[in-house]
Symmetry: C2
Subunit: 491 residues, 2 copies
């Protein structure tokens, strides 16, 4: 990155850019994306953005975690083509309906019109399943569990914004699995939800898990389970989905296997995905008025070491700082020394903006006491720590910080869920930006849609695999029900 760009907190004209307070969340988000150099929004096509190297550094680490979780649960990584022939794309009727308005079409190669138009994948079912037809033969081939991390495309007509609503989703992790029975696929959906929960815990991002209502499930699937987090403005962000596809796609693409008795049966399938919304969640849930607060698991710079220099003590202090840097690097930590000419205040400002987890300052007085000042990004309080064993101290602080971030964010999220009795209460909760409302529901589509209409909000769904039940009455039909739904404004 260039020096101009490296100087976080300065915009292109070199002037200090000011981050709005996080209470003005929408402005804060747009601003942090820019001045912390996550993405450059000035690319000359709507909904397409450029990853700055710093932003890419976060992306890389988030996706390392995602890949790690996938690889360690029996998934294998693969890569399918971007371009899907119209003939394959148009086979599954419900699926087409869900996507046809937003598919980009390639119609020409050079100056020659193509015989068959090619879709830029909006998702890869129709690219992958014709191959699964060739790969799946026998029950011994199952389960088949593959995933890929790819760019996907949607011609969004709504307002686009970086990481959240894009025309090129640059980082779609999509898994596609094949199973013998409907129950096996159901278990796979449960596994997927568990893996996504693991991923988000490692990102210190809390979540709600809901079974989406039937009218909001994946086009062509049997049912959809989704993870949502609550953003600071009270709206929810869908950060992961898992779909049970039943035999719907298998019937369309003729994916059959020979069962143990030698008979041919249609396969059951699932698919599940996470996009760079995972990064939007990390940024939005933890950030504060000073900038990014990044979990140690994904911060490009976990520790910054700042020497406090005076003329006659410079060398001793620099030596001590360098020793600390080496000790931390040896432990595999991502550490930078900032010995630049900036004023201390400007250094703090810069590294706080960039979400460096720990700041370590060493001056001549600290050195006399064989100690250093340590400041955690999320707490901002100074601690005096011994230089002996500083590697262990840092490791333990980073661990604590990851846990604390999750704990704090989860508590905050829970406080943003309000039990309600009537649609009017729901509308009031949501209208005031307080977050998610919960209310009883009889389970009938008609009543659910009526609630959405009356509250001018969307139903996330029923809490998934939750044991605590809620007794109440459906606010539309009045029927007694132990089922509840989450309702929210959604991104």
């Amino acid at each position: 990155m260039t020096e101009n760009q490296k100087d976080a907190g300065k915009n292109d004209a070199g002037k200090e850019a000011v981050l709005p307070p996080k209470s003005e969340f929408s402005e804060w988000f747009n601003s942090i994306i820019d001045i912390a150099q996550i993405m450059d929004v000035r690319y000359p096509v709507k909904g397409l953005y450029v990853w700055y190297p710093f932003g890419f550094g976060i992306r890389k680490r988030v996706y390392n975690i995602i890949r790690d979780v996938m690889d360690n649960s029996g998934h294998e990584e693969t890569l399918f083509p971007l371009l899907i022939p119209e003939t394959e794309f148009m086979k599954e009727a419900d699926h087409i309906k869900g996507f046809e308005d937003e598919v980009f079409w390639v119609t020409h190669g050079g100056v020659t019109p193509l015989d068959i138009r090619l879709a830029l994948r909006p998702t890869s079912e129709t690219a992958i399943y014709p191959m699964y037809k060739l790969w799946v033969r026998s029950h011994a081939d199952l389960p088949l569990k593959l995933y890929q991390v790819v760019n996907t495309f949607r011609h969004e007509t709504k307002h686009t914004r970086p990481l959240i609503r894009l025309r090129e989703i640059t980082s779609f992790k999509e898994a596609h699995t094949v199973h013998a029975t409907w129950e096996d696929a159901e278990n796979q959906v449960d596994e997927a939800v568990g893996l996504y929960a693991d991923i988000y815990r490692r990102l210190s991002v809390p979540f709600l898990i809901s079974k989406r209502p039937d009218w909001d499930k994946f086009p062509g699937g049997d049912y959809t389970i989704a993870l949502d987090t609550i953003m600071p403005d009270g709206k929810t962000l869908q950060i992961g989905t898992a779909h049970h596809l039943g035999t719907n796609f298998a019937k369309t693409y003729d994916i059959m296997y020979e069962n143990a008795d030698g008979a041919q049966e249609y396969a059951n399938q699932t698919c599940y995905g996470i996009s760079e919304r995972s990064i939007a969640a990390v940024i939005s849930v933890h950030g504060d008025d000073k900038g990014l607060v990044l979990p140690p698991s994904v911060a490009p710079v976990q520790i910054v070491v700042i020497p406090v220099l005076f003329k006659d003590t410079t060398k001793a202090v620099m030596d001590a700082c360098e020793n600390v840097v080496s000790a931390l690097k040896e432990r595999g930590l991502r550490v930078e020394m900032d010995a630049s000419d900036l004023r201390p205040g400007a250094k703090y400002y810069k590294w706080e903006l960039k979400g460096s987890c720990l700041r370590i300052e060493i001056g001549p007085r600290d050195l006399e006491k064989n100690s250093a000042v340590l400041v955690r990004r999320d707490k901002g309080e100074k601690q005096f720590v011994s230089l002996n064993g500083i590697g262990e101290t840092v490791l333990s602080e980073l661990k604590k910080m990851g846990d604390d971030l999750y704990g704090k964010a989860e508590e905050k999220m829970k406080a943003m869920i309000t039990p309600c009795e009537t649609p009017e209460e729901v509308a009031a909760v949501i209208g005031s930006g307080k977050g998610v409302a919960e209310i009883s529901w009889c389970g009938r589509d008609a009543c659910g849609m009526k609630i959405e209409e009356e509250t001018n909000a969307g139903i996330l769904g029923t809490p998934y695999a939750e044991t605590a039940v809620r007794s109440g009455k459906c606010p539309v039909c009045g029927q007694e029900s132990e089922q509840k739904i989450y309702i929210a404004k959604m991104y």
Copy 2:
């Protein structure tokens, strides 16, 4: 991967597929891609292929090496959009000419025609440089050294084949740098060539470095340096290029910086790329009649441990094998145990096909002597090694194997270069599939093109940064020259 697919060496009908001898290189290549499960060629669009998980495992490791080399030489990874508006794409005249015949165009979003057509990047100059215009301000911003690993697209009308000639290049690593002076950019081209040489040494792939003739340079650049390797059939494969772009693109995209005296100057630029042809080279250069021979740096399975089981000794042998597997895993090695029911011969066949570097067999007799049998994939000879310190033995054998592969391949490549005096000799060398011919050349374009015409082959260029000179005469004009050129049939 499914059981069917896991069973390397069997095609989809479950029958043993037979690998043609490597002397029939073209058939061998197509066959190994299929039966070793690198890619599935049955995707229903010409020139688009599917990475099998096993092939993807090789790809991942090759690109880990590429990223490692880039990251450790001051490059930062980034990511730019795939879609380039026609207005930007059409700005640089020479560049357009070089690519317009092979660009895929997106013309519709949903059912709506787009206002401005969008190109699928064939390469990213025209996506990146409008942003560089915004990012580069001052000499202090330079050098700017970024890279990305992306899918790029070319509407190839020639015969397509996996890894070599594709419509979706799935794995294009492209770097784009900006410098103050022409000389700084020239030095960057040298650095790039050096880095690519490092990458190929780590892949045990030998190469020739040539300055491409002027009529074959990158469209819009000042000059092009290329790395080629010689394939078993004598044709060359271009496996990396580095281009000096001068100020050509800077003038088109208005990339200027303020120099130390406060004056505005056009920036000098370079770009350089490597694609999955790097993987085609690894496979083609080292493979043999039995299948893949993979350098330890990229083999998905570096070691396979095979227990030789008899009824009364099974447990002791299995324990010994498991100990070896643990010892090797602890050292971070990629090791598999094959305790399947296959006959030993079938196991050898399978793991040789997949390019596992070392095979370790342990039977009751070996155990009595506290030893194991070790067979290196590239040599095929049995060695008896002690079970004590087997971790060190394996590490040292893997290291030796990587070095030996490179040495052997380099020797072979050098023997495929024949010095010639006349175009007829050149044509004979190339026509017989012996490899590359070298001949004197005066340096004039007209003479060079005449040589190409008379030999029905292509000029790779003049050897780059080579100190040994060759005295001779240009076979066309007869002028004395110390310059030589490489001529070859090229992929």
